[in-house]
Every structure is written in structure tokens, then in C-alpha cells.
Amino acid sequence: MTRFIPVRETILGGAILVLLLLISSRFAGFVAPSNLANVFNDTAPLIILALGQMVVILTRCIDLSVAANLALTGMAVAMINVAMPGLPIPVIIAIAVLLGAIMGAINGVLVWKLAIPPIVVTLGTMTIFRGIIFLISDGKWVNSHEMSPAFTDFPRMVLLGLPVLSWAAIITIILFGIMMARTQFGRSIFAVGGNPHAAVYTGIDVGRTQFWAFVVSGALAGLTGYLWVSRFAVAYVDIAGGFELEVVAACVIGGISIAGGVGSVGGAVLGAIFLGVVKNALPVVNISPFWQLAISGSAILIAVAFNARAGRTKGRIILKEAEATQ
């Protein structure tokens, strides 16, 4: 049996290459390695969040609260930094991840124990988290001059030619690659989303797996919260407003099926990079930035229509000769 349709990731990778070629025909500087590194660095937060969202979507859930989680964690660590400028960065990061994970766990518990649909839960927590930022900050911004230099410098520190922000994305990709392929949890995620009924037969607790997926997504949102706030050197209520949809869009473009069970780390990463390239290329090739929204919308529609064709299941085959020719 041969596969007629090449793997989704190859196609998406090809699409990105074609895109890069098109851009370079109008502006050669875009494909210079240093610029590509910049694009990657700029896309790093989206990549990290898309990986977290991927895990959630694979288990047939959705997390609309990631951007609010990111903003709340970012504000919290920024305020902690202002209050205690001496606190070392690893501690700050640990706090960010923990805070994010706790918020993810709140979503997870509501989905697991109270069986409230994930979209309702995260729609609610999304507004609640945002509101809490306003309450704790009194609506005030935390500006770069209030943050400690160590706090703002960390994501831009260059290691082996790349900033720490990029490394954070790369490490997350590697860890997720291992987690999804080589751990019991990673495989359970596919099982739960692909066939929850059968997952029960194999002794996998569906609700618990979904809970942990939310925790993972929340922890990554927390980590991104710190990276975001320190990179842009500012924290306020509305940072990353509406970013949750961009994250979901990256997953969808990357071939993660919203119905659960289908998707890959490579897909999510490429989906995020695709959006990142589009976003960074538009100003460079002198396409009005006003086109960006329509372009990413079309990309989503084309991607889902395409993925649906590629992923169409064959169903059962009864006729013997029909099976033979498949």
C-alpha cells in the first residue's frame, strides 16, 4: 500500500520554502541567515504556545485562555521583579512556569471533574485572568526602566549565536518531540483524542490526560509570559490580546485536527513559523500590513480544507476485490 499524499509536514515545509523564495525575489535580504534567525526569534513565543495548544487540541479540548494566562503571569513576574529586583532569573522563571501551570490546572479541573465543555471553561477563565491583571496592577503599566537589567536582558542574551528566546523555543520543540514520541503521556494524548472509547479499554484515564494537557499548556503560557514581558520590556493588561486565536490558527495550519487525535510537533511548529514568516515578510516586501489579516485568514481556510482532504479516513471495505486494489 503506497501513500499517495505525502506527509502534511512536508507540504507545509514546502509551502514555507516557496513563500521564502517569493519574498526573496522581491527582497533578497529577507532570506539572509541573520534575518531568518530574527524571524525565528520573533516567532518563538508563538511556537512555544502552539506546542502547548497542540497537546490540548489533540485531547479534543481547546484552550482559549493561553494569552490571558501569558499576560497575567507576565504581569505577576514583572511586579515581583519590581518589588524584589534581586530575585535571580531562574527563580523568576520557576515562578512563571508554576503560575501558568496553576492556571492551566484550574482549567483542567473544571474540565475533568465538573465535565464543563473546555470552550466554555477557557472562555470564562480568559476574561477572569485578564480582569485579575487589572486588579493586581491597578491598570498601571510596568515599564522597562522599572525592571531590573537582568530581568530584561535574559531573553536577548546570545548563546551560540542565538538569543535565549530562540533557545527557549528550540528546547521546547526538542522536549515536546521527545515527550510526544517517547513517553507514555505523549502517546496517551494521541490515544485519548483519537479514540477515547478505546483509550478506556487500554486503561488510559481520559479526564486525567486532559487535565495534564491543560497543565502543560498553562505552564508553557506562563513561561512565555515571562519571555514576552522581558523581551518587550513592558507589562500591561492587554499584552498578547487576541493572541489565543493566532495560536489556534498556527495549530490548524499545522494540521492539528480540531476533532482531536491527529497532529504532530513538526506540524504545530511549521504552522507557527508559517504565520511568523507571513507576519514578518509583509512589511519587508511592501505589502500593506492591512493585508496581513486577510492573508492569514485565507491560509487557515486553505489549510483546513487541504488537511480535511488528506486526512479523510477510508472507512471499512467489504468487497474483497476493492480491498485488493487499495
Binding site: G203, I318, K320
Partner: protein, 513 residues
């Protein structure tokens, strides 16, 4: 007719697993009623019983998927209870379930090892080791595909081999096989038999569920019979004849149950010519007369339901013509079928039949809304009137007509679905496994009702996998095999052997005595 009771158990071996007084109820159904079942090391025990006898439910209890409402399970004489499938696996029980419990997005090796994959020193899944072991298992059962294949790329039979490999991947003491050969070809079945022999020689206890008597007599050492959720008897296979086993299974003579009504068979109502589908069925030709009950028999998976759904406008045939009362009718959707007087009572009641969540009366009036409404506006009084009329005709048992159908027992749900269609006053009613999962009382009611319908001039197509039902009810029978019509039999030609022979495609001399 004498019913055999348990024959004495040989004193030298004690059972490895024994279930005693196990009861399991579902809302509205008592699936198991104080049954017992013993499994012995190095022996194959066949569990036999009609559809819905409770065999699969027993398997699910033994593997920790369901928890029984009462009774005890012992392993080596010690009572044990399984809170989850993991507990059962730890106790050394593994199963090939009747439904495929596999994951399309994972590779074959992962499907085999999910939940108990080999680990490296760092706690990660050792994929290399996993694929090596999986390849060996696959070779043992003669599977013709690699462990790296994505499961979604496999056909049904090969998926079944994966399920078998999965069950063998744990070092289990008890291996359960729930209809393992239903989807397999002749060659694969032979290899499975060899495997069973090998497992036996390793001293494992094997529970084997099958509806095929030839294989039961070929590989089983012992038998246990359930009927309608109750234990009927057990013993050594050498001590019983096939005929006696059937009697134990069915527990009654066939003619007692099925109503003998005389109905006149009239003119041709429906004619199907050359129906064909790229993958599901081909070359279907038959005709149906007024007032006739036409049985469709076949082994599970023969493609009967798929064809019926094509006739009802759900799936699109690639070719074929359908005439109603002599006129060619194009049926593109169920709505078209209904307007041409063809209705379908599906086999999957929960998903396709009843609209669970809507009250009974709304289910009944759903396809007849145009009759109970005026210019698209509902008239509740009319709806209740219609619902009342048909629920009384079918002797529906319910607390009230505005009760959610989901709260009804399976039999009463089936009555609601039938009522829904009768209210549209159809010409042809297709009943797909109409008595599957229905208690014995309701079953008789459905049968009686079916012949009544025929007597009133309605044409009935009855798809059934139960031989007694087919023989007892049909005026004529079409047997399907692998998506084609294998033969057409008149009432006089009907016998269990002929039906099974045509359905399984066995030559007369190859069939069991």
C-alpha cells in the same frame, strides 16, 4: 427437549479463573444475571450464546472495563476485583475485544504496546526494542505488514491481527478472544488456530467466543453456555453434540416463538437492479412483494447494513436503479426515501435510530411533522394525538410521552423507532437487526408485530444475523457474503446449515456435520 446441565469437572485440575454469581445491569437491561464461568490452565473454553447473551459483557468485566454489580471473581482461588483495565492487566488477563480498540494515528507497534511499552534507562519509550518485539509478535501470527505501518493504512482484517498481537504482547496467563475470526480470511484463521494451540501448550487459560460451531468444535476443550444473560450450563466439548449445544443456546424450539400468520403476498412493490458501490457491495438484484417478509442473512460484516443504507439514501451507490411500484425513483437522501414510502429501522439504535435528548412524542413525530403541523408551525395537540396512537399500537412502556427516549430500555427505544416510521404510513419497512439487544418478551412482540404489518400489506425487509429469527419470520431469504448476494432461498429451502454454508462460503462437504 432436554437441557444439559454441567458435566462434572475433572477433579485433578482446578480453575485458574473462576467467576461466580456475577451480575451486571445497565439502565433498563440486565446483561448478566448471576452467571458463572471457569477457565482452566492449558485449555480453551468456548463461551457460546446468542447475540446479546452477555458474552462481551463478561469479557469487559474480566478485563476491568465494567465493574459487576454482584458476584466474585477468583484467580487461583483468591478473590480479586478490578477497579480499572490496568488492574486486570496486572493480574495477567488480556483480551482481544469484539470491537476494535485501536488508534488510527499510532503505528502498529505503538498500538500493540500502548500502556506497557518497553522503557529505556531514562524512562523513555524504547522504540527500537518496541519495534523488535512487535515485529516478532507479528511474525508469529503471520501478519503481512511491518510494525512501522500507521494503523490507519491497514484494512479491517489486518487491524484485527494487530488487536491479536496486542493481546499477546503482555505476558498474560489468561487470553480472551471475543469473536477473533469474524473478520479474518481462511489462511489467517488457520494461523490463529496454531497460535491458540501454542498458547495452550504454554499453559495459558483461553476464553474463546465464537458463533461458528465448526471452529468451536475444532479448538475448544470446554464450553460454557449463556442465554439472555443467564448461565445455562458448561462441560467438556467431547461430551456434547453440536445439536445439543444449539439447543442449550437457544433453549426453546424455534416454532414455539415465531408467530405463524398467514399473509397474502401480493404484487411487486420494490425492485432493485444492479446496485453497486466501489468498496461496499456489488451486483445487488432482487424484488420485494406486497405483504412479504424478506430476510437478509449473512455473517457480521457481510455488507447488509451498507446496502440497506444505500437503499435509504444515506450512502450513494455508484450504480443501480430502484423501482417503486414500477416507477424508477431516485433516492438521494433519507427524505427522498421516506417520501417514496421506504423507511429504515437502523441497527445502531442509540446513534442512528432514536434521537436521544428529544422526548418520546417528538421522536415519533419527527418524520411526520408535515402532517401534524400547519404551514410549518407545530401543533402540539396533533403531535400528541399521533404519538399516543402509535405508542398504544406498539404497547410502549414509558412513564410519559414527554420523557427523554434515552431513559427507555433498548426494547422500548426500538418500539419508538418503529412507531416513528409506521406513523409515516410507509410501503416498505427495512428492519436492520430489529431484535438485537432486546429482551425476550419484547422480541416476541416485535416478531408478532412484524407479521401483523405484513398481514396489513406492508412489505418488510428484515436484516438479521440470528438464524432462528430468519427461519422463523421470513417468507424468502437472501444470503449475503462479502458485499454480494450469495444466494436466494425460498421458505422450504431454509435450514441452519444451508444458511451458514452460503453465508460462510463453505462447500457442502466442508461444512460441519
Amino acid at each position: 427437549m432436554s437441557t444439559r446441565t454441567a458435566s462434572p469437572i475433572s477433579p485433578d485440575v482446578s480453575p485458574m479463573v473462576s467467576m461466580d454469581m456475577i451480575t451486571k445491569t445497565f439502565p433498563g437491561v440486565k446483561a448478566l444475571d448471576e452467571v458463572k464461568l471457569d477457565l482452566y490452565p492449558g485449555q480453551v473454553t468456548a463461551l457460546v450464546g446468542e447475540n446479546g447473551a452477555g458474552k462481551s459483557t463478561t469479557v469487559k468485566i474480566l478485563t476491568g472495563i465494567y465493574q459487576p454489580n454482584g458476584g466474585t471473581i477468583r484467580i487461583d482461588g483468591d478473590p480479586i476485583s478490578f477497579a480499572s483495565p490496568n488492574d486486570a492487566a496486572k493480574a495477567g488477563i488480556t483480551a482481544i475485544h469484539q470491537e476494535t480498540v485501536l488508534f488510527d494515528e499510532l503505528s502498529v507497534a505503538e498500538n500493540i504496546y500502548i500502556g506497557h511499552a518497553p522503557r529505556t534507562r531514562f524512562g523513555l519509550i524504547d522504540t527500537a526494542q518496541m519495534h523488535r518485539s512487535a515485529a516478532k509478535l507479528l511474525a508469529d501470527i503471520g501478519a503481512p505488514f511491518s510494525s512501522h505501518t500507521q494503523l490507519r493504512d491497514l484494512g479491517i482484517a489486518n487491524k484485527h491481527l494487530v488487536a491479536i498481537a496486542r493481546a499477546l504482547s503482555v505476558d498474560a496467563r489468561v487470553v480472551i478472544m471475543d469473536e477473533p475470526t469474524a473478520a479474518l480470511s481462511h489462511k489467517e484463521i488457520e494461523e490463529l488456530y496454531e497460535l491458540v494451540e501454542a498458547l495452550k501448550s504454554q499453559g495459558k487459560a483461553i476464553l474463546f467466543i465464537s458463533h461458528k460451531f465448526d471452529e468451536i468444535f475444532r479448538i475448544a476443550d470446554r464450553y460454557t453456555v449463556f442465554r439472555d444473560g443467564a448461565f445455562v450450563g458448561d462441560g467438556r466439548i467431547d461430551d456434547i453434540s453440536e445439536g445439543d449445544l444449539v439447543t442449550m443456546m437457544v433453549g426453546r424450539s424455534v416454532d414455539q416463538i415465531f408467530p405463524q400468520s398467514d399473509h397474502d403476498i401480493g404484487d411487486e412493490v420494490l425492485k432493485v437492479v444492479g446496485y453497486e458501490h466501489p468498496t461496499e457491495f456489488a451486483d445487488i438484484n432482487f424484488s420485494l412483494n406486497k405483504g412479504e417478509i424478506l430476510g437478509f442473512y449473512g455473517l457480521v460484516g457481510a455488507g447488509r447494513s451498507e446496502f440497506m443504507q444505500a437503499l435509504f439514501g444515506i450512502t450513494k451507490p455508484s450504480k443501480g436503479v430502484c423501482r417503486v411500484n414500477g416507477d424508477i425513483k431516485v433516492i438521494r437522501s433519507p427524505a427522498d426515501a421516506v417520501s417514496n414510502g421506504i423507511v429504515y429501522v437502523p441497527e445502531d439504535r442509540g446513534k442512528q435510530g432514536a434521537v436521544i435528548g428529544l422526548p418520546i412524542f417528538q421522536n415519533i413525530t419527527l418524520p411526520s411533522l408535515s402532517k401534524t403541523s400547519r404551514r410549518g408551525f407545530l401543533k402540539l395537540a396533533e403531535e400528541f394525538k399521533l404519538a399516543r396512537e402509535y405508542s398504544q399500537r406498539l404497547d410502549l412502556r414509558a412513564a410519559s410521552l414527554d420523557q427523554d427516549v434515552g431513559n427507555l430500555s433498548g426494547g422500548n427505544q426500538q418500539k419508538v423507532v418503529i412507531a416513528k416510521w409506521l406513523a409515516t404510513q410507509p410501503q416498505v419497512i427495512i428492519l436492520d437487526e430489529p431484535t438485537k439487544g432486546i429482551d425476550i418478551g419484547s422480541k416476541a412482540a416485535v416478531h408478532e408485530f412484524m407479521s401483523e404489518l405484513a398481514a396489513q400489506g406492508l412489505s418488510v425487509i428484515m436484516v438479521s444475523s440470528e438464524i432462528p429469527e430468519i427461519i422463523g419470520m421470513s417468507d424468502r431469504v437472501i444470503v449475503m457474503r462479502d458485499g454480494r448476494i450469495a444466494t436466494e432461498l425460498t421458505k422450504d429451502e431454509l435450514s441452519p446449515e444451508t444458511l451458514v454454508r452460503h453465508a460462510a462460503g463453505i462447500t457442502p462437504d466442508g461444512a460441519a456435520a
